[in-house]
């Protein structure tokens, strides 16, 4: 009886830990995947508009490029925070 109880307890233990790991891995994946949607659209729109502006006014290309990099840096930060959350969920 005691051995069976121990086995059951061990099985319950591993399943609890497994369930936690599975949930952490799944939510880590969702966290990064969801965090990448918005910045993906944003950066695409931003660079597209910048190329449009540069094509219309090639003499302003330098200024547009600087502003574009700044905008990319701000937009990208959101995706990177998602990546940090992914690392924290998966490994911490």
């Amino acid at each position: 009886m005691e051995a069976i109880a121990r086995l059951v307890a061990a099985a319950a233990d591993t399943t609890a830990a497994d369930a936690k790991n599975t949930a952490a891995a799944a939510s880590a994946g969702y966290a990064y995947g969801l965090a990448a949607i918005g910045p993906g659209i944003g950066i695409g729109y931003l660079v597209g508009k910048s190329v449009e502006a540069m094509a219309r006014q090639p003499e302003a290309a330098g200024m547009v490029r600087t502003t574009m990099f700044l905008g990319i840096a701000f937009t990208e930060a959101l995706a990177l925070i998602g990546f940090v959350v992914f690392i924290l969920l998966k490994f911490a």
Binding site: T66, F69, L70, A73, F74, A77, L80, I81, F83, V84
Partner: protein, 252 residues
């Protein structure tokens, strides 16, 4: 099918001490300081009235890049006094990023949070101090927290948002941007290196030629990291310039 096990994250990022309390990250940071100061000190020894040659060409190119690409674009002429600071920042971050793709180093020093966090805190102190110096503490708080041109009733909404974004989020996002970019690059390189190694050593003979694919991806990502290392240093210097410029000369 493959005996592929992703290693523990700490084994990718934590390094053993070379000497007590001195590991590879510290070595890279020290090397970055030594290399950048050597370049500029050697360049300084040349006669500045002659045509530049040798290492002075490199040094002048970097200085001109910072002046034209960072300072003039964001702060204008009156910001040129900040060139030495931004140049130091740019060189240090760039030389900390680049070891991520140099063989035997294979680790960007900025992929540990301590380095970017300290740099971001330094920038935070400097741009707040600049704002207080140029506008006085009341004027600085007024121009940051109460942006002009907003209807009075909206300040209930705008002021907390401005406070959070200008005082709290700025240094945080500055640090996280650099750190996460470099760490993501490092982990990507590790992933593809491990995958191609596991495929090249697979027991199933048919899998061995498939290993070419992640290997090409590894080469492509390595060249991509060359770009990322430069771009992150550039963006860090540029955002620093934007924050300092914004604190020194607020919009009216």
């Amino acid at each position: 099918m493959l005996a592929l096990d992703f290693p523990e994250i700490n084994s990718l990022l934590r390094w053993k001490d070379l000497f007590p309390s001195f590991n590879k990250i510290a070595l890279i940071a020290v090397l970055a300081v030594v290399i950048s100061s050597t370049i500029f000190l050697l360049a300084l020894r040349q006669n500045h009235e002659e045509a530049p040659r040798g290492i002075r060409n490199l040094a002048e190119t970097i200085v001109e890049f910072i002046e034209n690409g960072v300072v003039m674009q964001t702060m204008g002429k009156e910001g040129l006094a900040w060139t030495p600071f931004l140049l130091t920042m740019f060189m240090f971050i760039y030389l900390c990023n680049v070891p991520g793709i140099i063989p035997f180093f294979q680790m960007p020093a900025t992929a540990r949070m301590a380095v970017p966090m300290f740099l971001a805190l330094m920038v935070w102190v400097i741009y707040n101090a600049t704002g207080i110096k140029h506008q006085g503490i009341g004027g600085y708080l007024k121009s940051t927290l109460f942006p002009p041109g907003v209807p009075k009733a909206l300040y209930i909404l705008v002021t907390p948002i401005e406070f959070i974004s200008a005082i709290i989020v700025r240094p945080f996002s500055l640090a996280v941007r650099l750190f996460a970019n470099m760490m993501a690059g490092h982990i990507l390189l590790v992933t593809f290196a491990l995958l191609s190694e596991a495929l090249f050593q697979a027991k199933d003979k048919i899998l061995i030629p498939v290993g070419i694919l992640p290997f090409f991806m590894l080469i492509f990502l390595t060249s991509f990291e060359v770009l990322v290392a430069f771009l992150q240093a550039y963006i860090f210097a540029m955002l620093t310039a934007v924050y300092i410029g914004g604190a020194a000369h607020p919009e009216h």
